[in-house]
Homo-oligomer: 138 residues x 3
C-alpha cells in the first residue's frame, strides 16, 4: 500500500514548526500497520530535522547555534540576490535534512519518546511550504 | 515483504559503534533479495552516520572534529539541564543523521567497500539505545 | 515494483555534479507512478545533497562554505595518509548526506521547483563514483 499526501504550512520567520501530530494522523488514516513514512520538503531554503520535542529551549538553542555556525553576515559569497538570509538558508538546509524516513510500527510512527519532526525554516519572511508525505507498507 | 527488528545497544561514552555486521545479518535473515533497509535511531542525543570503516583513526578524528565544531563549553545557551553534553548532543545529532537508507542488492547490503554504518554516541554517560531496522523488498 | 540501477560518474575535482536528469529518466523508464526513489552513494569521500539548482553561484558558495567549515589545513588530526583532503572529505560527507529519498508523484520526481540532486565531490583528484538508484512503487 502506498499513500501520498501534501501538507501545506505557512511559516512566519526563522524557527522550528512541529509536524509530528499531522504525520501521526496521516499514518493512522492510511491504515498501514508496518512500513515506512517518507517526509519530503520541496524547498531549498528550509529543511527538516528530527529533534528533541519536550523542552522548547532546546529548539531555541538550535536556532541560536545555526545563527553562529552559518552567520547571516557571511562575507565573500556571491549568492546574495535575495538578501542576507538567502545563501545561509541553503547552507543550513544542506547541513540538516531534506527528507526524513520514519518506521511505522503497529500502525504508529516509531519515534522515540523525545523525538519530534520539525520543519526548520531558515528565511525571515513568511513562506508557504509544501511537505510531501508518502506512506508505504502493509 | 516487510520485516522489522529492534537492535538494542549499550553505549559507554562518546564514540562510534559499528552496526554493519548486525544489519547485514538482519538483511540475510529476511530473505529479501532486492529492496531497501531503513535504519532508524530512536534518540535525540545520538545519531547515525555511514562512515569510513577501515582505519580507526578516521573515526577518532570524527569525534575530535565534532568536539571542535560543537564544543561542550558553548556559552549563551539555555538547554543545559542535563549537563554540558546535553544540548551539544542534540546539535551534533541534527548535523548528522537520525536514519540511514541502504539498498539491498542480490540479498546483501549495497554498501561501498569502505562504508560502515555507525551509531554516533554524543553522551558521556552510558546509555541504552534502540535502533529500529525495517527491511522492505522482494 | 522495485527497480535498481547503478549510475557511474567520473568526477574531476571538488565540486557539485548534478544527477537530476539521469534520475528523472530512470524513474520514467521504471514505469512507477507513485512511490519513492532511493539514491545511494557508495563512497565516504563524496556525498549527496539536494540543493538550489537554478543559480550556479549558490553551488560555488556551497563549496566555499565547506572549505571554511572544514578547512583542508586542519591540524591535530591523525587520518591524513591520503593527503590533506582525505579526512576533510569524510567530515564533509558526514555533515551532508549519503542517500536521498525522493517521492515519485504521477510518474515523476516530486522535487520542488528549485531542487536538484547533486553529487558533492570532496576530493581534488579525479574519481569514479557509483550511485545506486532504487525505485519502489506501483
Amino acid at each position: 500500500m502506498i499513500h501520498q499526501h501534501t501538507l501545506r504550512l505557512a511559516t512566519h520567520g526563522k524557527g522550528t514548526y512541529e509536524l509530528t501530530d499531522q504525520l501521526a494522523e496521516l499514518v493512522r488514516a492510511s491504515g498501514v500497520r508496518r512500513g515506512l513514512v517518507n517526509v519530503f520538503l520541496r524547498h531549498t531554503s528550509a529543511s527538516l530535522v528530527i529533534y528533541e520535542n519536550a523542552d522548547p529551549s532546546a529548539r531555541a538553542d538550535l536556532l541560536r547555534f545555526f545563527e553562529q555556525l552559518v552567520p547571516d553576515d557571511l562575507t565573500g559569497y556571491a549568492h546574495t540576490a535575495e538578501g542576507p538570509d538567502d545563501l545561509t538558508s541553503h547552507l543550513r538546509m544542506a547541513l540538516t535534512r531534506t527528507s526524513e524516513q520514519i518506521p511505522i510500527v503497529d500502525g504508529r510512527l516509531g519515534l522515540g519518546t523525545w523525538q519530534g519532526v520539525f520543519l526548520f525554516e531558515h528565511r525571515h519572511a513568511p513562506h508557504r511550504r509544501e511537505v510531501l508525505v508518502t506512506v508505504l507498507g502493509e
